[in-house]
Symmetry: C3
Subunit: 341 residues, 3 copies
């Protein structure tokens, strides 16, 4: 597909600088782009790479000067470039009436919204409700009495246990599990007796969940994920956890049962959060920190056990000075011995 720079600029409401009639064949990122390609420069630090690149045109921020090759100036070059790439390669998702693949098993009592799409080998249980324009990719299992809001996407092999409730525009990536039993046992005569896990999971609107992530159901009530929260791959969320709105939870983090996470909390990768702790709104947990007690909101925490970043930095600096400290104390002691002799 060949498109002029002028047309591309019109798609993204950008300002052309340089030759508007140049024909562009592909959209590629800076590292890969060559002749015939349009690329983008997100940050002025990368202008040097653009000058060295053989790409034919670039989407840039306002104010970047022309240097032989045409530019499209926009406020957000990355998002504009993404639009151009999608449109040039013709990503298209046509929809129409409800589409149920002939191999899918949909219980007769299930209710499907307009233009819902149920892929091959999906199983939709008794009493389930699937919103309009929601798509289930191959092999998705939706348990009994689950409710999924409109315009949601469940990728291949996602499993929802019975009774889970998802909002609108929820995305869950492949092989994630929502609503598995919480890890609750009681010792009894040398055995671990299971505490029945009878609750469910409630997920708000606009939540995205990565691949192979697991969210356990509540023991009696709900495990809750707030509106707009984004969760990465291989994250574990225990039973009865309540996560606020618009949180970010990066890969390989584990949140133990009954923890309460406020709104706008940012949790970096490989963090661990103990059971029953409360983390205040707008707290930031640095990668790998381990939370063992309640933390106030609005601050950044580091380390294990997690402490405010300022303290932890002081502590780490001290640790790094330890070898010198040992040497100095040795010296002080030997001088003392020398003085005594």
């Amino acid at each position: 597909m060949s498109v002029t720079v002028r047309e591309l600029a019109a798609w993204v409401d950008g300002e052309v600088a340089g030759d508007p009639e140049l024909a562009i064949d592909h959209a590629r990122p800076l590292a890969d782009a060559g002749p015939g390609d349009i690329t983008f420069v997100e940050d002025d630090r990368h202008l040097h790479a653009w000058h060295e690149s053989r790409a034919s045109a670039a989407v840039v921020r306002p104010g970047v000067p022309v240097n032989g090759r045409p530019l499209i100036r926009v406020d957000d070059p990355l998002m504009a470039f993404a639009s151009i790439l999608k449109r040039m390669r013709g990503d298209h998702f046509t929809r129409g009436a409800i589409t149920i693949h002939p191999t899918a098993c949909v219980h007769p009592s299930a209710v499907l919204g307009d233009e819902a799409t149920i892929g091959p080998f999906c199983v939709v249980g008794e009493g389930a409700v699937i919103g309009h324009r929601t798509t289930l990719h191959p092999g998705v299992v939706v348990g009994r009495n689950c409710r999924i809001g409109a315009e949601s996407t469940l990728y291949a092999h996602v499993v929802l246990y019975d009774g889970c409730i998802l909002g609108e525009r929820v995305t869950i990536h492949a092989n994630s599990v929502i609503g598995s039993d919480g890890f609750g046992y009681r010792p009894h005569e040398g055995k671990h007796v299971k505490v029945p896990q009878l609750g469910h999971v409630e997920i708000g609107d606009d939540v995205e969940i990565g691949a192979a992530t697991t969210i356990d159901r509540g023991t009696f009530g709900a495990t809750r994920i707030g509106t707009g929260t984004k969760i990465d791959n291989l994250v574990q969320i225990g039973h009865n956890v309540v996560i606020g709105k618009h949180c970010i939870i990066v890969a390989c983090t584990a949140i133990a049962g009954s923890a309460m996470i406020g709104d706008y909390v940012v949790i970096a990768a490989q963090v661990g959060i103990a059971g029953h702790v409360t983390i205040g709104a707008q707290a930031t947990l640095a990668a790998r920190c381990g939370v063992t007690r309640d933390l106030a909101g609005g601050q950044t925490y580091l380390g294990f056990p997690a402490i405010p970043a300022s303290e932890e930095k002081r502590r780490l600096a001290s640790i790094n000075r330890l070898p010198q400290l040992l040497a100095r104390v040795k010296e002080l002691e030997s001088e003392k011995v020398g003085a005594a002799s």
Copy 2:
């Protein structure tokens, strides 16, 4: 479903205090319960919340005084409440003859016990044996010559590679993988040559395994999980590992190849255990500890490398006093300088 307090008490063999004829519509935990609901108070610390709650009745421990609303007194309020909740909402699992969903692929040589249930899109391999009253949820794959004991439940998309052996009353949650190849390679002329992984996995009776957990097969013999052991979500267990009876292994823990874990060992979340180490019976590993050598049983360990809890606490306390220590040494040094001048 409306049930009197008297009837509810009879279900759980409890003692009624207060009005036995009050009608109850729902069972809900304290945080959610309102008028018409029965709830439960597991611990006297929560009696305050019960007094503030608008729930109509509660299951409590013996000795809790009545305060206007009826109580059902039992020794274990949580378990009694779970029974009431399950019965009120009509959880029912009727069974009968063997049920094989018409979409399932069951090899003609496979043997299925009485009242086994094989869900949609399951694959049961050549020579597999499935015990009576065992249930395979949708999409479970059972490899060739696997044997699964009676009354077991494999949730959706669990995969058993060829030759795995499961005991009775085993539960495995969705998307877990049992019997994948161990991670064994040998360097040879600049490449990593795979060591064939020809063993299998043996899982004892009454084992429960969480969602998206992986247990690799032995290289030649078995990877073994002992009777009554409970394993959480996203746990990795390497090839040739032997885990004892009645252990607890919490989420996101990784156990490397050929480690030996004794009976009644408790392993908290995000622990790492090196290959070929031995951990004695009844040891407890605190969250995130990293085991690099053999550990004696009967003790609690912390830290990385893991050491007995008492030592680690002393070490951590020292680290936290480091900034003051640095200041004191500086002072000692400056006084020395002052004395010398």
Copy 3:
């Protein structure tokens, strides 16, 4: 199946010492072997166990003396034993023409190589290309326009998102996800707006990937895994990551977006690598280390933040001496007080 020691030796090109006509029924590792079995001794340290074992014969290294029972001497006893075990138990993978299970959904535009095998409940998307002698186990989902090289094996429920490219002889274990969206959002008016993830994943020849591992697609370009690299279970690899050739990445490691890993890098279990860092060729990262900045190749790193092993060992030794250090400083101070009085 009963085979003489002479025949077994011929299978593995080994030298018989002792009775070549002894009949062997099974091949079992040292810990399990008994009468009628052949076993193997990989290392002279295990000769003691062989002497105590009741096995009838053993595969050993050259130079091991006979001690009553026959030996087969070979340069690599483990690999020879693996060959014997596979052949004795009759592992066989007969192939012929293309085999597509009748339940599989293969798009008419997909192209399948000779002797490809598509298992039950697989989905192969529009425009996909599957190499000759490649096997898809049950429930594998291959997205649109994916290309899989020859002689590859995808175990049950592996999911390839659209556009992923796999080399020849690639093995991916059950429930892994290749090509899920990277974790990229931008704050906008109090919400997290998704950065479209439009790239793909490219995996070189001879790569093996464990179970329940996740590899995200590039934002615009590719996430790349180099030829011969081996990745264990439950590993997370972020978007735009580039991993070199012949690397080893052990279980539960997380590599954040846009990290660059050189050739022959060894990454032990539970490591974390921050986004955008570069790790030089032939670096070794010890278990659990956390990489926060660029690391030169050819060295071993430990700790969090990761530093060269020599420094970290010194640092750890200092930390362990802290309690004594505190005591010594206290003593110095009290003496000073004593001297002043």
